[in-house]
Symmetry: C2
Subunit: 163 residues, 2 copies
């Protein structure tokens, strides 16, 4: 049942660097976190030159894909608090990568848009992200990659569609 490749025995002071996962290995959440941790670490390292705040890239990308989106919508999509989103948009505007425009319909809302400069920046960021992921994905077949995306989407739908 378990896909356990870490059978490292304790007791013999093994030199194999791998540790046992124990029951932790039965949970997808753990494996997910493990991989995701490393991945985001790599990505952060690759972009250490410019000091990009954590949620900044995702936010910019989401705005680019959804022109006119509101800060609340963005917040819930990226999974950040509204107040954090404010800070992020502030920064994006400071860099000149995005801008707020008052919505004519609902004057409370700020409709968000990516500037041309922001688009260029996104290109760069996406390129680096591809590099980082490439190193990881080359160990997967195209079919596996496809299936992974599919499975992750279904998991996301499942976890979101409950209260």
């Amino acid at each position: 049942m378990a896909t356990n490749s870490n059978l490292t025995a304790r007791g013999g002071e093994t030199e194999r660097s791998n540790l046992a996962l124990g029951r932790l290995g039965d949970f997808v959440g753990f494996r997910l976190r493990r991989v995701q941790n490393q991945l985001s670490r790599k990505f952060a390292a690759a972009n250490a030159d410019m000091g990009l705040r954590s949620g900044l890239f995702s936010s910019l990308a989401i705005v680019a894909a959804n022109p006119g989106i509101s800060q609340s919508e963005l917040s819930s999509e990226v999974g950040l608090d509204k107040s954090v989103t404010v800070t992020i948009i502030d920064e994006l505007e400071k860099y000149g990568w995005a801008e707020r425009r008052r919505s004519p319909d609902d004057r409370r809302r700020h409709a968000l848009y990516v500037t041309p400069e922001g688009d260029r920046q996104l290109d760069r960021l996406f390129a680096r992200m591809e590099e980082v992921e490439g190193a990881v994905l080359h160990s997967l077949t195209e079919a596996e990659h496809q299936m992974l995306n599919d499975v992750l989407d279904r998991m996301y739908d499942a976890v979101v569609r409950e209260l």
Copy 2:
């Protein structure tokens, strides 16, 4: 190529709550983060009663699976700084869930062990984790689950085995 189920059109002010992912949808890292975020959020909510610090559960589980492990080894496995691990073990000892014992071989090291009480606690935590994951995993077949674990393991190996 992309497994995109969010084709929500912009422009028509659609009421569908789903947003477009755009190019972000081409990256596994994004999907990974998405699912993992929700999952850990759920898990945290399920355990809100006791105030469990972030890395605490994983650490306890790893120690349980590797009795006598050192703090450094634990640190690198969980992906935390040594100093953070110190704090975590402090807390675990305060709760009476784990303990340090000076290693006889190497008196610098602290060999870590889970107490019986810690084991009971782990049972409870694992049970809750199963509940949380169960809701997500029921949307996957057993074969998919298996494959997901396998793929994630390979990705982890790939990302770890590079400098």
